[in-house]
């Protein structure tokens, strides 16, 4: 039995002197579980898990997956889950200066004392932070270099559906829904740990489970041109699917952050999966099939959750909330139960049409501040290519409905760099922005026009694994920059604020998401060159990345601006996400046809 080593409180006090936001590094929230690790250690079958989130506390805490796993694991008496987040740069410096290893929040257990560390990877730009957290914990980043006494290291989340690039760092990867598979894995750790911790036997056991990918079981063979020749053995790992969401209640006692998180509200998942099929959207495919919770249970459990937490805002989460059949019933049920107390309901990911504006009005009595709306493309042609099913008339009707009912602000999302995108399509974005602004200003009450404000966010298209566009090429950086310029030049920016994502950063994200096992070395070298918090504009270090690609004779373009051949073996072909490759290909061909057919018309 290995010792559980902890940081003492007075040592923490010393470390936190002068650190910004010290509240990030202590627990003591309402809803926290803190099981005595020494008591647990006496039971041979106990398992101590660290749920590691490779971003700061404020961003990690609102993550629903983290709260769900924390709840499920801690509600089993043999298991204990504690949390660790990426320390901000000032605290990392303090840890490194003093030679202090990274520790969990609850009992300040050094991470290398855990049985299992599970990383939640929400996007690819957190890869370097993951390595950094392992290194700060005094754990070898490469799986095969680790000692038998080291914790098992695993990862899951949307950025792990293509496990290739991170595979050399992970003992295993969890693909799909975590609820059931996590417990099954912990039961096997509990079984194999007392027998002297035979890691290879344990990995063999868990690789039999749906949803567990063990990288060391696979060999990737490459052609000289860099494409994949063979994945050996040719066995696919199926993702884990939770058939019935209602088989788990929503988390009714979540941990309530003591310092202000990015989303400060009670979050409830009402539906998982999306049937819309926007061809660029990875979430729309990897979370299939669509499963809903029943409104009745949701109402009851949400009320309980609100009473337990004291939140004054509830957020109903799904990928496409307007497709939730019992939405009106759900909202009425919650609002009716809550007479006398102030409560706001937020519905992110609403498809906006006049009907939904009525619903939005229902929930935002008196507080009609902002609406979010994602046309994604400016021209109908481009919306057809990406399969974003909304017409300009629907958009305008919605703007009309919203602004005549008192809204003052709107946020629009667009994406640039889609397959077959022409200059006209970019100009159409600028045009649509202008038309929406002018419609809104004409419709809204005259005395409110002064307050009108519109935010526009321009994102760069990243072809992602398991989408119909997984084969498509990403647009070249200079062209992306020109397109951004074109929009800026054609939109008056007096009351319209435009923000855009950095094409340089998008290219790295794209390469990592479509990368293969050889990129592990690149990630390692980028991290060694100082890359971390790659998603933070002021910390993103392009040179660290380009240097790392060069050092490993890897071309970024190979993974970004190169279209992948439809006959090519894709790096993620050994993962079965439930959506057939033939279906994706059919959708891709349809998109290309739509692009072509319109060209001939012009």
């Amino acid at each position: 039995m290995k010792d559980i080593i902890r940081l003492k409180y007075h040592e923490l006090e010393k470390l936190l002197e002068g650190v910004q936001k010290p509240g990030r590094y202590v627990d003591h929230e309402i809803g926290v579980f803190s099981k005595d690790p020494d008591l647990l250690a006496k039971k041979a079958s106990s398992v101590l898990v660290c749920l590691a989130f490779p971003d700061i506390y404020e961003i990690g805490m609102p993550n629903l997956g983290l709260q769900i796993l924390y709840d499920i694991i801690n509600n089993r008496h043999r298991f204990s889950a504690e949390r660790a987040f990426a320390p901000w740069v000032d605290f990392e410096d303090r840890l490194r200066e003093t030679g202090t290893r990274l520790f969990s929040l609850e009992n300040r257990i050094f991470l290398d004392s855990f049985d299992l560390i599970g990383f939640s990877l929400q996007h690819e730009l957190l890869y370097t932070n993951t390595l950094n957290m392992l290194d700060l914990s005094g754990i070898e980043i490469i799986a095969e270099n680790r000692k038998p006494t080291d914790p098992l290291i695993c990862a899951g989340g949307p950025a792990m559906v293509n496990p290739g690039p991170m595979s050399q760092f992970m003992d295993f990867v969890v693909i799909g829904d975590g609820e059931e598979i996590m417990v099954q894995v912990l039961e096997r750790i509990s079984k194999y740990k007392p027998e002297g911790g035979n890691k290879s036997l344990f990995l063999k056991e868990i690789s039999k489970l749906d949803g567990v990918y063990v990288p060391s079981n696979y060999r990737f063979h490459y052609f000289e041109n860099g494409k994949i020749q063979k994945i050996d053995p040719p066995v696919k790992v199926k993702k884990a699917i939770l058939e019935d969401l209602d088989s788990y209640k929503i988390v009714s006692r979540p941990v309530i952050p003591n310092i202000k998180p990015v989303h400060d509200r009670y979050a409830v998942e009402i539906m998982r999966g999306c049937a819309r099929g926007c061809r660029f959207c990875q979430a729309g495919f990897i979370y299939r099939p669509v499963r809903s919770r029943k409104a009745e249970g949701l109402i009851e459990q949400s009320i309980e959750g609100l009473e337990n937490t004291g939140y004054d805002e509830i957020s109903f989460l799904s990928l496409s909330t307007s497709d939730y059949k019992e939405l009106t019933k759900l909202i009425k049920g919650i609002l009716d139960s809550n007479r006398g107390e102030k409560l706001s309901v937020s519905l992110p990911s609403m498809r906006l049409d006049s009907f939904n504006i009525d619903i939005a009005g229902l929930i935002q009595e008196g507080r009609k501040t902002g609406l979010t709306f994602a046309p994604e493309a400016g021209s109908q042609r481009m919306r057809d290519i990406v399969n974003k099913n909304i017409t300009e008339k629907e958009i305008m009707d919605c703007i009309d409905a919203a602004f005549s009912r008192g809204w003052e602000k709107i946020k629009l999302y667009f994406m640039i760099g889609f397959p077959d995108e022409q200059e006209e399509d970019i100009l159409a974005i600028a045009d649509l922005i202008k038309r929406i602004a002018s419609k809104a200003r004409k419709t809204m009450l005259r005395k409110k026009v002064k307050r009108f404000n519109m935010n526009v966010s321009i994102n760069v298209f990243n072809p992602k694994p398991f989408t119909p566009f997984q084969w498509a090429a990403q647009e070249k950086i200079d062209l992306l920059e020109k397109k951004i310029q074109l929009i800026l030049e054609n939109v008056p920016q007096r009351y319209i604020n435009i923000s855009w994502s950095d094409p340089n950063r998008s290219q790295i994200e794209c390469a990592l998401s479509r990368g293969d096992t050889r990129l592990g070395k690149v990630i390692e070298d980028a991290w060694k060159a100082g890359a971390k918090f790659d998603n933070w504009t002021d910390l993103f270090d392009l040179n660290a990345w380009t240097g790392a690609f060069e050092k490993n004779d890897a071309a970024i373009d190979f993974y970004t601006t190169r279209g992948y051949g439809t006959d090519e073996i894709l790096p993620w072909d050994n993962i079965d996400m439930g959506v057939k490759k033939e279906f994706l290909l059919l959708q891709y061909k349809k998109a290309l046809e739509q692009a072509g057919s319109n060209e001939t018309k012009e």
Binding site: P22, Y25, H28, N258
Partner: protein
């Protein structure tokens, strides 16, 4: 039906790492969980009638956090404290709650002085440096004209060497007195004095708030 209450709580241990705004959110949520309804102000943008005493700097423990609330339900002083403590689960402890007569001025406009204790450690008691420092207390009170008084609380034995307690009364910025006492600036100044003596600051605690009433300093409860 409405009642005004003033209650006192402490911010110790890990809770010293949460900001004033964080603590406000924590207390407000606990009130909701305890189903104690706070009155809202009338008007276009209704706000809950809840106000707090002067903020304590991040990293400093406090035994004198005060909060005034206007409650819409008929609860007693004991019940208010009990129900809140149930919901705070021992993370923050409300030690006293008192009903305040209608028209009681809010804390921020009432409070005149904040009492801090600074514990100073001397590792070598034979040097007499703690005693010399204690004699200097009066001089320190000149700091930026923002201190009302500093008293020596004598020394106690503790661990390695001895500990001297200084009690300082900082003036709160009011219209008549534009000087704002900044605890962090004072501690930096104090460290400058301590270094030659080989002394160090052990801990700092916010002890109490005072209000001048008929030239005497009284606590926010005594003034009610």
């Amino acid at each position: 039906m409405e009642k005004k209450f003033r209650f006192k709580f402490s911010k110790t241990g890990e809770y010293k790492y949460f900001s004033h705004l964080d603590i406000i959110t924590i207390i407000t949520r606990a009130l909701r969980r305890a189903k104690i309804r706070v009155k809202y102000s009338e008007g276009y943008n209704p706000r809950p009638k809840i106000s707090f005493g002067p903020p304590t700097p991040l990293g400093i423990e406090s035994s004198a956090e005060y909060c005034d609330i206007m409650v819409a339900d008929p609860v007693s002083e004991e019940e208010l404290a009990l129900r809140l403590n149930d919901q705070l689960m021992g993370k923050i402890i409300i030690d006293t709650a008192m009903e305040a007569p209608p028209g009681t001025k809010n804390l921020m406009s009432q409070v005149d002085l904040i009492e801090y204790s600074v514990y100073i450690r001397g590792r070598d008691p034979a040097s007499g440096s703690l005693e010399k420092l204690a004699e200097q207390a009066g001089e320190m009170a000149e700091f930026e004209g923002s201190i009302y008084d500093i008293e020596s609380g004598g020394t106690i034995e503790g661990g390695e060497g001895k500990i001297l307690k200084l009690s300082g009364y900082a003036k709160i910025c009011k219209d008549r007195n534009p000087k704002v006492f900044k605890l962090m600036n004072f501690l930096e100044y104090l460290r400058g004095i301590l270094v030659p003596y080989g002394l160090s600051i052990e801990k700092v605690i916010k002890e109490e708030l005072y209000i001048f009433k008929e030239r005497k300093k009284v606590t926010p409860f005594e003034v009610l």
